[in-house]
């Protein structure tokens, strides 16, 4: 597990400022600290948490807000099956399966022996989870000023795109992945990011034959 925890630090670096912002948003919306923290402790899915709190603050009925949050998370249904060749999913593994944990695990698990994979994955998830919850607590308790230091907050939040770039590099010559990425980016530019990511998963899923790079 230690190896996974150590490998989680780029994710933790990126999660922290976003989680502080989430905690601060919840506090601004008048939600109690315990409720805000419970959201991060139980849901552990950033975009849907922001959606839930934002919609509740606008007076949207709670069950509708939760349903919309779930729609944002539809893409997560693709992650487990993509990891299954390397790791069988149990409840704890599934709980930790965020976008970033999935992407990093997809890159690293194939290179590990099968005995090491579960511990590594749980370490990865735990590192991300601790950062997310620490950031939430600090944001909800009024430590938003932590990120007021010039450019610190936005610099740290760029850690996630930087990490995704490095994880995407091996796939940038895969035409299926590029097509799916183009679909996702197109929907993203139209303000429909969640649907774009879901459709990207569908595009990849429908492509049954593994793409193989041209041999020199």
């Amino acid at each position: 597990m230690g190896e996974g925890l150590r490998a989680a630090w780029p994710i933790a670096l990126g999660y922290f400022p976003v989680a502080v912002a989430f905690g601060a948003l919840g506090a601004q919306a008048g939600l109690g600290y315990l409720w805000i923290q419970l959201t991060s402790l139980l849901v552990f899915a950033g975009a849907s948490q922001f959606a839930l709190v934002g919609l509740l603050a606008q007076g949207v009925p709670p069950l509708l807000a939760a349903s919309l949050g779930l729609l944002l998370n539809l893409r997560h249904a693709f992650y487990g099956p993509a990891l299954r060749p390397y790791l069988k999913g149990g409840p704890l593994e599934a709980f930790f399966l965020t976008d970033e944990v999935f992407a990093l695990a997809l890159r690293t698990l194939p290179g590990l022996s099968s005995e090491k994979r579960r511990g590594y994955f749980l370490g990865l998830g735990l590192g991300a989870y601790l950062s997310w919850n620490l950031g939430t607590a600090l944001g909800a308790l009024g430590a938003k000023g932590l990120l007021a230091w010039p450019r610190l907050g936005e610099a740290l939040s760029f850690a996630l795109p930087a990490l995704f770039l490095l994880l995407a590099l091996p796939h940038l010559r895969n035409p299926v992945a590029l097509l799916a990425g183009g679909v996702a980016l197109g929907f993203h530019l139209l303000g429909q990011t969640a649907w774009g990511l879901f459709l990207a998963g569908v595009v990849g899923l429908l492509w049954k034959e593994p793409w193989k790079g041209r041999k020199a």
Binding site: A7, A45, L70, P161, A162, L165, A177
Partner: protein, 92 residues
């Protein structure tokens, strides 16, 4: 409100868990690589297209070079994030 929180938590967990459990292998084709590239593109480029994309692209280039020079994923991410902040401070 607490019911909404519990519903979102349970639903998210089931979305992650149910497709992953079980013995039967599910063919996922290229879903993994497709989603990783999609996540990269939507996280790096916020709509609408703007000069912010140039800043992001430069910082991504720095991240890539950081990986080539150091071979360390974490250090490269740290360099990219630092460059992004620096470019912002320089008015990009």
């Amino acid at each position: 409100m607490t019911l909404a929180l519990l519903l979102l938590a349970l639903g998210t967990f089931l979305l992650r868990f149910l497709p992953w459990r079980g013995e039967k292998s599910l063919k996922t084709g290229q879903a993994g690589p497709a989603l990783v590239v999609a996540l990269f593109l939507v996280s790096a480029f916020s709509p609408p297209p703007s000069s912010e994309w140039v800043r992001a692209a430069l910082a991504l280039l720095g991240t890539y070079l950081g990986l080539r020079l150091t071979g360390n994923l974490g250090v490269a991410v740290f360099l990219g994030a630092g460059l992004y902040g620096l470019l912002g401070a320089l008015g990009f």
